[in-house]
């Protein structure tokens, strides 16, 4: 038996050698993500909420990509005028009816998530990066920098995010890129607050004190020891943030700050449908809205699931109940 154990130990030593290779901060986050997902596969058992959310979001991303790549997949073109009869209620040929420019609503809806998804993902990624870096620095350095940054972030946070986003888009001009900048700017304080609060906790722990005593520089402590400890909190917040971003983008498009007209877009299609509301064309508004709700719900469910996963207290509570 002891003979058998020997090679096994050898085998188990080689990954530990890998561990001693110098890691860049990016690879730490990457490894953490890998560990997190492999742990996630186990934890996904029984996480019905998380699973439903993931299925919804992945399905919507696939649907949007396919519908934009092959516009004629439903048999009707989403942007071509006079492709169908005018303002028809849902029927066998047109499952969700047709609009005033004689287009099939169903094929427009399949492709209509394009702007929402791109803007939501990019904006949340941007604000996550900016907000958490500011939060790490502000929380760790402290002093007047922290005070000024916190006040500024609180000021932005207290201002209605929807109004801020509208004003920013109006200043930048409409379209995808301005929407990304505007939505990203609006969400920076959210990440700032979350990471700063976490950093303030981590900063006081004994192990940070020990590392500091060993003589590590502030930058090293932030990147290697403080930042990785805030990743869990950021992940949970970002899912809820995506859900909110989908609604914000939809509202911006609804108010006319989104993609230029022929492009299919849920928010813009609802605005169009508003003109025919009095004539009872309910299908123009109902279906794009349902798509927004389901997608936003998907992100929200992922957020709920992740919160359960990363917050052991909440998980225990749920099991007990």
């Amino acid at each position: 038996m002891p003979n058998r154990e020997e090679p096994q130990r050898e085998g188990s030593r080689s990954p530990s050698k890998l561990d001693t290779v110098r890691r860049s901060p990016l690879s730490i986050i990457f490894l953490r993500l890998v560990k997190w997902t492999s742990r996630g596969r186990v934890a996904l058992q029984g996480q019905t909420i998380l699973k439903i959310g993931l299925v919804i979001v992945i399905a919507f991303v696939l649907m949007t990509v396919i519908a934009n790549k092959f516009p004629l997949i439903t048999g009707y073109h989403p942007t071509l005028y006079r492709d169908a009869p005018r303002l028809q209620p849902p029927s066998l040929h047109h499952w969700m009816g047709t609009d005033h420019l004689q287009r099939d609503v169903f094929s427009r809806i399949l492709a209509g998530g394009y702007a929402s998804l791109i803007v939501a993902f990019s904006a949340v990624a941007l604000s996550m990066a900016a907000g958490s870096i500011l939060g790490w620095i502000s929380g760790f350095v402290g002093g007047w920098l922290d005070r000024v940054l916190s006040l500024a972030m609180d000021a932005i946070y207290s201002f209605p995010s929807m109004i801020l986003a509208i004003v920013l888009v109006a200043m930048f001009g409409s379209g995808i890129a301005p929407m990304i900048w505007a939505v990203a700017f609006v969400y920076i304080p959210t990440y700032f607050r979350v990471t700063r609060a976490e950093v303030l906790q981590v900063r006081e722990t004994t192990y940070v004190e020990a590392i500091r005593a060993v003589g590590a520089s502030s930058a090293r402590i932030i990147v290697r020891h403080v930042a990785p400890n805030t990743v869990n909190a950021i992940m949970a917040v970002s899912s809820f943030n995506l859900a909110d971003a989908i609604l914000t983008v939809a509202a911006l498009s609804f108010l006319g700050f989104g993609l230029p007209p022929p492009a299919p877009d849920w928010g813009f299609d609802i605005q169009n449908g508003q003109k025919f509301l009095q004539s009872g064309a309910w299908w123009l508004i109902t279906f794009p809205g349902l798509m927004i709700i389901i997608l936003s719900l998907g992100f929200g469910l992922i957020g709920e699931g992740i919160s359960d996963l990363v917050n052991p207290r909440r998980r225990r509570k749920r099991k007990r109940l």
Binding site: S158, P160, I163, I166, F172, G273
Partner: protein, 339 residues
């Protein structure tokens, strides 16, 4: 009493730097961030360089940034928000006319949210993990995920177009609008003051759908928080004590637990008001409600720069005032807060 006064004045002094930073952020967004307001104002129209320059001079954009900043703050202190480019009237005057409409809508929206949110939250917490609890939680989550403008339009389709119960737009019906003269700008209050039953009924009918639309946006948030807070409090020792000394369950929930559970919810009332103001932009647009939020959207569409700046500053001032009020109110209802 003097201690409360001291606390209020302290909070007031703390609000000033906050307000200053908020106004600075607004200034930075409107003047310094990339994107030229003048070319945005004349948006795509083919205008000569001279016309652009004349607008720049008219709006003071030709001056150095620091001078603009001082002018901007000075204008706010004096209450001078400039003149609207569309109507030529002072922006502050236009905002004051529309302000009561927004407040009225926001208050009724808040009322809907509080009634629906607190009730559903308490019911869900007392029946934790039973079917009703799950149903209410699904309702809360979907009210988060629902685009407000979509809800408003769906309500219009159902209740205005199909059923014809409520009017689609405005604050008061066409014929009554001519005979009804406002005193305070708050129409419900005006109708009561004038003892005009017919007008009151009409005004309330106009209010139902917008208030409901706006309120639903907050219901999920408040309901979830109420549920979580109630669950936490229901496990506390004082609840067990109350039950063991024989207090009826209804009183345990409504008098003992709810009072304590509401404290953390009231602390975030200020933030909820911000959500409400954001929702008001969409609600006012859909229901043609003549408030400051729809004024801002129309100012943006018309590229009316002084109006945009005025409305944003006005909203910032208002939000700060609400936050201050919430803090003071909180210190009054929770004796644990030291003055």
């Amino acid at each position: 009493m003097s201690r409360i006064l001291r606390y209020v004045s302290q909070r007031l002094l703390l609000t000033l730097p906050m307000l200053f930073i908020l106004l600075t952020v607004v200034f930075l967004i409107l003047r310094v961030l990339p994107g030229d307001p003048v070319s945005a104002m004349l948006g795509g129209r083919n205008v000569s360089q001279e016309v652009m320059e004349s607008y720049r001079v008219k709006l003071g954009f030709d001056k150095p940034l620091l001078t603009q900043y001082v002018d901007y703050l000075g204008g706010i202190v004096r209450g001078d928000f400039g003149n609207s480019l569309r109507t030529g009237r002072p922006v502050l005057y236009e905002l004051f006319i529309r302000f009561p409409a927004t407040i009225e809508l926001a208050l009724w929206g808040m009322l809907v949210a509080v009634l629906l949110g607190f009730t559903s939250g308490v019911i869900a917490a007392t029946r934790a993990d039973r079917p009703l609890d799950h149903a209410i939680r699904v309702f809360h989550i979907s009210s988060f995920a629902m685009p407000l403008f979509w809800l408003g339009l769906m309500l219009q389709i159902i209740f205005c177009v199909k059923l014809g119960w409520f009017p689609v737009a405005g604050r008061i019906g066409g014929r009554l609008a001519f005979s009804f003269h406002s005193i305070t700008g708050f129409y419900v209050l005006d109708a009561i003051l004038r003892w005009d039953g017919k007008a009151l009924l009409d005004i309330l009918r106009h209010l139902v759908l917008p208030a409901f639309t706006l309120g639903i946006a907050l219901t999920g948030l408040q309901g979830r928080m109420t549920r979580a807070s109630m669950l936490e409090n229901l496990n506390q020792d004082y609840v067990t004590t109350a039950r063991s000394k024989g207090v009826p369950e209804r009183l345990v929930v409504l008098q003992h637990t709810l009072r304590n559970a509401l404290i953390p919810i009231i602390t975030v009332f200020g933030l909820q008001f911000a959500v409400l103001m954001g929702g008001a932009v969409l609600t006012e647009t859909i229901f043609s409600w003549p408030g400051i939020a729809s004024y801002l959207v129309r100012a943006i569409e018309a590229r009316d720069y002084p109006s945009i700046q005025g409305a944003v500053v006005f909203i910032a001032l208002f939000i700060s005032a609400v936050n201050l009020f919430v803090d003071v109110f909180y210190s009054v209802i929770d004796p644990r807060v030291r003055y």
